[in-house]
Assembly symmetry: C2
Homo-oligomer: 348 residues x 2
DNA sequence: GTGAAAGCGCTAACAG
DNA sequence: CTGTTAGCGCTTTCAC
């Protein structure tokens, strides 16, 4: 049973429908300018033969792929431990498939992979790229920009030189942090500490900036650097308690960290929020609601971020096609910063 | 600045190297049967021009894509909340890129997407598929098998009819469960409860089976159905405590659930493991080590599962290519069940 | 060993 | 409106 019977081609459909290849092509691609009866005949032939266009052949002539790469750099994969990227991927996937684009996932593990990714992107396999790389020293973004592929970044890239006009989508980390700290201050707290994330990531750095904006020249001992993990949150909280036993509020850089901090606080007999109020960041569903007490936190809509990233890229690609391949980052491309919202629960 | 300067083609390289397109092609594809000096000349030209082969053109003739789809069905995406898929994806990605294959991620959100995915797979965009669908009633696997694309499943598919010869990679859920329960029994526990996962997933069902194998005709009241979440674990534990206050051990279907159970236990003043011993499943790093006390659990190597899935598929594709497109699931394709290992920590 | 030539399946002018 | 005609960039016989 040599069932391989290679897929039917345009030619086959044309023959069966008694028309030319060109007509079939037109129908398959929307059917504009083809008279109804013919359209119908072709549709039927397509149906009967189970015709599916060969993407490779199509790409070869159109130079489009209807595919977008999502690049997640190694240091981030770790972060898979929280649902952050999964949610973002979902948002991206939804938007992409809504526009008939495929998602090609590129995970990198260190330097060697950088070259591979750059080559792949430069190789014109995909129409554009969505890149997550939020570390100050990451060479990947540079390589990718070099590859000349339209790109949108997830999160503000951490380049020292702010001159390049990159398009990115980010949450208003700074503003969210300000809101959190202001809430705490408004509650009458005066010794407000901050447990940061890894400061080589812009999100963490921006949250720290927000904290500082509100706190002014407060005791620097109130700031402890941590790493976005629950374990890190615990360690940081212990250090904090040691250093500033009079701390009466904590703004943690994310919910995971906040959860760790709360655990230590209760272990040490401090009541939350009576003795120490705690605010987190993210509003990750399983975490923020599961802690005891449930976390007051700064919500960012991760899935929406993903969706917007995809939308931005797709729009750019569209424009590029229309413009006759000019389409660099013209005026209408600008970073998008999504607002955050404070979600009040029981911890502050 | 019309910087578009379309990528250099084989032709361009050939001209620059002073050879024919065919020769360049040979060199680019391994360079067998081309004399050293020429190889060198071509390599140089490639380098200078920054030539990267056009995959679409290549696929058009070879009918290979060096791309594999990973399909994750809706009900699973939820599970993104634990790092399970992320790890699996990593394993897959590593293996795939090691063999120069791309990973095309297909996330589905309900029925409509099924058709889309089936069409995509049938459309011959990828050489094979890796599919995660572990629910009893999921129609997707059937559709995919219908599409005629070589496929390897992640986890034992939950079909009632076991007749189809599917290839899948799974952990030894049943064996792991047996080990867990035997450990508990060996500790002298007699009232060993089981908090299950969602029983429409084969992993959960298999773990329950393992539990029952060891427990024989124990009190059925000791089994509580749950959902793999911490919150579910808490609810289940409360119900259990109500129903069987004399429970002295719990085997939870995963670590998240175990963590929830432990929390409730301590809340109710039962010491772990003295009063109630607890064993989890998965050995998810952030969870199992963070709980207090750290969880004794059944480890499965998720990343390795992913890697093996990819390896299996790749091997099959290779064989298929060699065989001249025959390569159905011949004898050498069989499900792979990976062993689990008991990790002893403090909770039992 | 190396080159010439034929196409893979499709789209995009261009005629008619 | 519809058909005809060129290729897109690459691999692959088949001669040389």
């Amino acid at each position: 049973m040599t069932e391989t019977a290679s897929r039917p081609t345009l030619e086959a459909v044309a023959e069966r429908a008694g028309v030319s290849r060109a007509t079939v092509s037109r129908v398959v691609n929307g059917g504009d300018g083809v008279r109804e009866p013919l359209v119908e005949r072709v549709r039927q032939a397509v149906e009967e033969l189970g015709y599916v266009p060969n993407q490779a052949a199509r790409s070869l002539v159109t130079k489009r792929h209807d595919a977008v790469a999502v690049v997640i750099a190694e240091p981030e994969t770790r972060v898979f431990a929280d649902p952050f990227f999964a949610l973002q991927l979902r948002g991206i996937s939804k938007e992409l498939t809504a526009h008939d684009n495929q998602l090609v996932l590129l995970l990198t593990e260190g330097r060697d992979d950088h070259a591979r990714v750059a080559r792949y992107l430069a190789g014109g396999h995909v129409d554009g790229a969505l890149v997550f790389s939020l570390h100050l020293d990451d060479p990947l973004p540079g390589l990718i920009q070099g590859a000349g592929v339209p790109t949108v970044f997830g999160g503000r890239p951490g380049w020292s030189d702010g001159t390049r006009d990159v398009v990115y989508v980010d949450s208003d980390n700074r503003g969210g942090a300000r809101d959190a700290v202001r809430l705490l201050a408004g509650l009458g707290r005066t010794r407000i500490a901050h447990i940061t994330g890894p400061l080589d990531q812009t999100s963490a750095a921006d949250r720290l900036d927000g904290y500082r904006e509100v706190m002014g020249d407060a005791d620097p001992g109130l700031v402890v650097e941590s790493d976005f993990t629950p374990g890190g949150g615990e360690r940081a909280m212990r250090a904090l308690l040691e250093r500033c036993p009079d701390v009466d509020a904590v703004f943690a850089a994310n919910d995971l960290t906040a959860a760790g901090a709360v655990r230590v606080l209760r272990e040490r007999g401090r009541r939350v929020p009576e003795d120490v109020a705690v605010v987190g960041f993210d509003d990750m569903m399983p975490v923020a609601e599961q802690t005891d007490p449930p976390l007051t936190t700064v919500r960012q809509d991760i899935e929406e971020m993903g969706r917007i990233m995809a939308r931005l890229l797709l729009r750019r690609l569209e424009r590029r096609t229309a413009d006759g391949a000019a389409g660099g980052a013209d005026g209408s491309d600008a970073p998008v910063v999504l607002p955050t919202t404070l979600v009040r629960r029981a911890s502050a």
